[in-house]
């Protein structure tokens, strides 16, 4: 009887899980496998092109320092965008979770989510309008300030960072918000009754308890930013060459898919190593 119901449970679990896993297999695993295969080829196996198995694509990464330099540049960009997003996002999440009550919270939350609902290209181009010389920001600054100012942030690393922070900020706000929501207000009251000042409560109580949420948000931002190509290309212009744009070039412009694939997997490996190095911290934060 019990073995029968256990079997039914297994069947039920399998039925519920199979659509998701089928989708993951078709949409993620198969294309990814194809890319792994491509990365070991000398040329794309389309049409009547000649190709054979090789490690050259991976070797190329190590032969010239260009790729490593660009990867380092992208990692720094990732760190910077993640850092700025956490610095802006966490206080915002704190106010949403602990200070504001009632209906205004919903309205403010909507504003946070808004970037998610707009097309990413539209988002980037609207930043271009704001940031360029004679743009909205330039105009506004001149209207307010009495002296003549020239703001032209367009095609600079600053513009890239602004665009990326704008796109990815909601992640860290949402994850921090959920972590902060889970902190019972009575904990803060208890700390106050014991004589703790705001600063102590923040460093000894709120930050440690919200750490898993902050870290989850940081990971969600860091990984895609390191591989990003659209923002660097559109907002960075000539100076917007990053690891992600190089990969994109291999696929779109140069048509060297095997090299692009190899570079992608090197990026994946580096990111996994970084996350692996942080996992003890993540695990400690959870308990």
């Amino acid at each position: 009887m019990s073995s029968l119901s256990a079997r039914q449970d297994r069947i039920r679990a399998f039925t519920l899980l199979s659509p998701a896993y089928l989708w993951l297999t078709v949409a993620v695993f198969l294309p990814l496998s194809a890319m792994v295969f491509f990365s070991f080829l000398s040329d794309v196996p389309f049409g009547d092109r000649e190709w054979h198995g090789t490690l050259e694509n991976y070797q190329e990464f190590f032969q010239t320092s260009t790729y490593a330099t660009l990867l380092w540049k992208s990692l720094k960009l990732g760190l910077m965008v993640t850092g700025i997003s956490v610095l802006i996002g966490f206080p915002c999440a704190y106010v949403l979770a602990k200070v504001i009550k009632g209906r205004s919270r919903e309205a403010l939350f909507l504003l946070v989510i808004l970037p998610f609902w707009s097309n990413s290209l539209v988002r980037i181009f609207s930043w271009a309008i704001v940031l360029r010389g004679n743009g909205v920001l330039d105009f506004a600054a001149n209207a307010v300030l009495p002296w003549d100012v020239r703001i032209n942030l367009m095609f600079s690393p600053t513009a890239i960072v602004i665009g990326l922070v704008h796109s990815y900020l909601p992640y860290v706000i949402l994850t921090s918000y959920l972590a902060l929501q889970a902190i019972d207000d009575s904990l803060i009251e208890a700390a106050r009754s014991l004589g703790a000042k705001r600063r102590t409560i923040l460093t000894r109580l709120i930050l440690p308890l919200a750490a898993p949420g902050i870290l989850a948000g940081a990971v969600l931002i860091f990984v895609p930013v390191v591989g990003s190509f659209m923002e660097p290309r559109l907002l960075g212009g000539r100076r917007g060459t990053y690891y992600g744009t190089v990969i994109e070039d291999q696929f779109v412009a140069v048509f060297n898919w095997p090299l692009g694939a190899a570079l992608s997997f090197i990026l994946l490996a580096v990111v996994l190593v970084i996350l692996g190095a942080f996992s003890p911290v993540l695990r400690r934060a959870r308990t």
């Binding site: 009251e189 009754s193 014991l194 004589g195 102590t200």
Partner: protein
């Protein structure tokens, strides 16, 4: 240490008056129970003393110092929360030591005082555990130790035992009383459990709709509740309404409650005797026995008198001679009549 006093406290939330001109003195070293139904303002009063609620008007005086403008963290209070509010990221010892840590008490001194406090609540061996590894009763003790280790001037307990099961609650009541006696700290606690309030407190205060209706030693309030709300809220009471006469209170069925001066008389269920024959006593009336409830050593009779439900509690051996249902006589000693106003 010290006496705590509130004077003319008023706190409104929109049209609702959570505290309506409450003045009360909590004696130094005493155990004071604040009692009332939910929404009566008892928790608001406690939180006003703690400093989490800012009263609209009125004063809060702790140990002689007015503290209305002193923030919570500087009031030198100890508080135990309903859910204990232990810091989940810290060990038991770190939880207890937190108040000393923020007061910059040095490591060795802090460790000694934490150990003493944990010893006092009989948890000396669990300092390295995390809160989630403790049972409910142990968490309660840790919360106590954390609240008293800083030697606050007053200990505030917000329904401290309500999360525990019945048997553990009784144990913890005795424990709480022992700890409080040992350190002699002025203690104010909020509860909706009247039995708990009677067991623990030297003094109780009963609140209703933001007003303090009655306060005093538990026995005095129980024996002489003075109004119907207190009589019914603290313990159980059978109420008889009638017309006052020269000799007493005349009831609707013609019976007379001798010597009762008020317009309402209350009699505790344990003070009424049930008999089949008409008793030879001044206070008696005829009622209809509806149901008997067996409860071990004590039994409960539910009766109907003039369409109102009455309750009598008696020793099971005294109730055995009665039928399941039928007409009976109720009587009680004149000294057990409680005269109520309104």
């Amino acid at each position: 240490m010290g006496e705590v006093r509130v004077e003319h406290l008023v706190k409104t939330y929109g049209p609702a008056r959570a505290l309506d001109d409450v003045s009360l003195t909590f004696p130094d070293g005493g155990f004071f129970g604040l009692l009332g139904p939910s929404g009566s303002g008892k928790t608001t009063l406690l939180r006003a003393i703690a400093g989490f609620v800012a009263p609209d008007t009125g004063r809060v005086i702790i140990g002689g110092d007015p503290v209305e403008n002193v923030p919570v963290e500087k009031r030198e209070i100890g508080m135990v929360f309903q859910n204990y509010a232990l810091f989940p990221n810290m060990t038991v010892a770190e939880n207890v030591g937190f108040g000393l840590e923020v007061r910059k008490v040095s490591g060795a001194d802090r460790a000694r005082r934490v150990a003493e406090a944990l010893e006092l609540v009989q948890l000396g061996h669990l300092g390295e555990r995390k809160p989630h590894q403790l049972s409910g009763g142990q968490r309660q003790r840790v919360a106590m130790a954390r609240a008293i280790v800083t030697q606050p001037r007053v200990l505030l307990l917000d329904e401290p035992l309500s999360a525990l099961d019945k048997a553990l609650r009784v144990d913890m009541q005795i424990e709480l009383k022992r700890i409080q006696r040992e350190i002699g700290i002025t203690t104010i606690f909020v509860t909706h459990d009247q039995e708990e309030a009677l067991t623990l407190s030297d003094q109780i205060g009963i609140l209703k709709d933001g007003r303090l209706v009655r306060h005093g030693p538990p026995r005095a309030v129980y024996d002489d509740p003075q109004d119907a709300f207190t009589a019914r809220f603290l313990g159980e009471a059978n109420l008889f309404n009638g017309t006052p006469e020269a000799g007493g209170l005349r009831l609707a069925d013609g019976a007379l409650i001798a010597g009762c001066t008020g317009s309402t008389a209350a009699v505790r269920p344990e003070n009424i005797e049930v008999s089949l024959q008409e008793p030879d006593r001044p206070n008696k009336l005829q009622a209809h026995l509806v149901q008997q409830v067996f409860g071990g050593a004590m039994g409960t009779c539910i009766l109907d008198w003039q369409g109102e439900s009455l309750k009598v509690i008696g020793r099971d051996q005294d109730l055995q001679g009665l039928p399941e249902q039928g007409p009976v006589w109720l009587s009680w000693d004149s000294s057990k009549t409680i005269a109520l106003n309104g």
